[in-house]
Amino acid sequence: MSLAFQEIQETIRMIQMEKLDIRTVTMGISLRDCIDQDPSRTQQLVYDKITSSAKYLRRTADKVAEEYGIPIVNKRISITPASELLGAATKEDAVALAETLDKAALATEVDFIGGFSALIHKGITKGDAVLLDALPEALSRTSRVCGSVSAATTKTGINMDGIKRLGEIIKEASELTAEQNGIACAKFVVFCNPAEDNPFMAGAFHGTGEQEVVLNVGVSGPGVVLHALRRYPEADLGEVSDVIKRTAFKITRAGELIGREVAERLNTSFGIMDLSLAPTNAMNDSVAEILEEIGLERVGTHGTIAALALMNDAVKKGGAMASSYVGGLSGAFIPVSEDNGMIKGIEDKALSLSKLEAMTCVCSVGLDMIALNGDASAASISGLIADEMAIGMINKKTTAVRVIPVQGKREGDMVEFGGLLGRAPVMGLNPFSSEKFIKRGGRIPAPLQALIN
């Protein structure tokens, strides 16, 4: 069937003017065959396996992007949660492993390597404990290593001992990188119900249900959705949903094509398509602006959650129709520092931390890239995490927390993280203490929804 002039024009417009891009191709690599009783031997095996598996990742992705004329912005690697490799290791070995990963990322020229991670939602193993101890140093001494911890699931409940520890870890990581505005915390996320095939950082890891090597693709196009909606200023909300759905469909189709092509050329299998509206600081590439286009004067006002729910659902529907292998976190990301509209919402006092928390009930991830005042206590951060975990646990969805306490900054100050990570206005935590609650520890039992067998 021959192509219509309009179709060609539409595709070119989406890519060149509306910032449609393949945000990331992420190669998931299992490292379970690298486990050795001797930690230095493990590190060597890990380095060798990553650099051989991903040797051609960057080159191939660049070549495919050029041929199809659609940019692939990031090339990344995710690995088996590192805590599984650390059973016999000490804290120093764990930090050394993180440095090995950093070196492997540099050698393969990928932007980030994710999976310095542990899954502790039900309990903590020896390897997990070592990883947690090493996290602050590992994140602050490396530049491309990302970490995540699963601290709760709907099936197991919330590991509150773990969450107490995570509050302290985030504080410590922020202090260790105080000179760079606590940048280490931007590479670390706490999850409830994490997705094992998520290609997006900082939460990417190669889950236990995955195969040896796999290629996952994350596509993003807030700009395309925004422009599509601008063409229908009078549409009712049913029609708005339809416009988003149709747009998401096209974006997903483009992503799967590119993903499969890259996977085929690398001789690996194609995993999933993650269709996420993930914003960037570029003009008109904002999720908040889509919500405002739907009809909110400023993101954060009454109606924000309804509009976000509509959008998130429409994205999923369009994506699910377009590809049978939609996975990851598909939906809408609402990171603050990476989204000009969100930043403006906070500056104009339309958007508060409480509203952001409420929005995470209907978005695809959670509290993301939020700068906190530097004197926030570890217990308050733990409390914030616990709230977010509870939302995910009860609603059977993924939620996450990626917050950055910035030393020496107070509510209202602006912090620059630079590059992809953007800038964020500092938000203040509630001044009242959560200390006693967090100190109790233990595990919040799994909710009734867990018993669905």
Partner: protein, 91 residues
């Protein structure tokens, strides 16, 4: 590369010789034009071509020569594999 069809799009200010220059580069690189459509959209010359590439391994050279035309005539010239358009718009 198994498929060899691509879409070449040219957008820019209308002037004498756009089609001549672009098609010359294509002909010199053994690229066959299967379909061509051209119009003026909002004062901009807009041309789309569906082409068949006979030497798919030598795409760099072709892209480089198109770039030269693109910069001397102040045009935006893109070449993209056809499957992208097919998969986005057709079920």
């Amino acid at each position: 590369m198994s498929h060899k069809r691509a879409v070449v799009s040219v957008v820019g200010k209308d002037q004498v010789g756009i089609i001549a220059k672009v098609t010359t580069v294509l002909a010199e690189n053994d690229v066959n034009i299967l379909d061509i459509s051209q119009t003026i959209l909002q004062d901009f010359f807009t041309m789309m071509m569906l082409v068949e590439i006979n030497k798919p391994d030598d795409l760099e050279n072709l892209a480089e020569e198109l770039n030269k035309v693109s910069s001397t005539m102040k045009l935006k010239i893109d070449m993209q594999r056809e499957e992208l358009f097919q998969s986005m718009h057709r079920i």
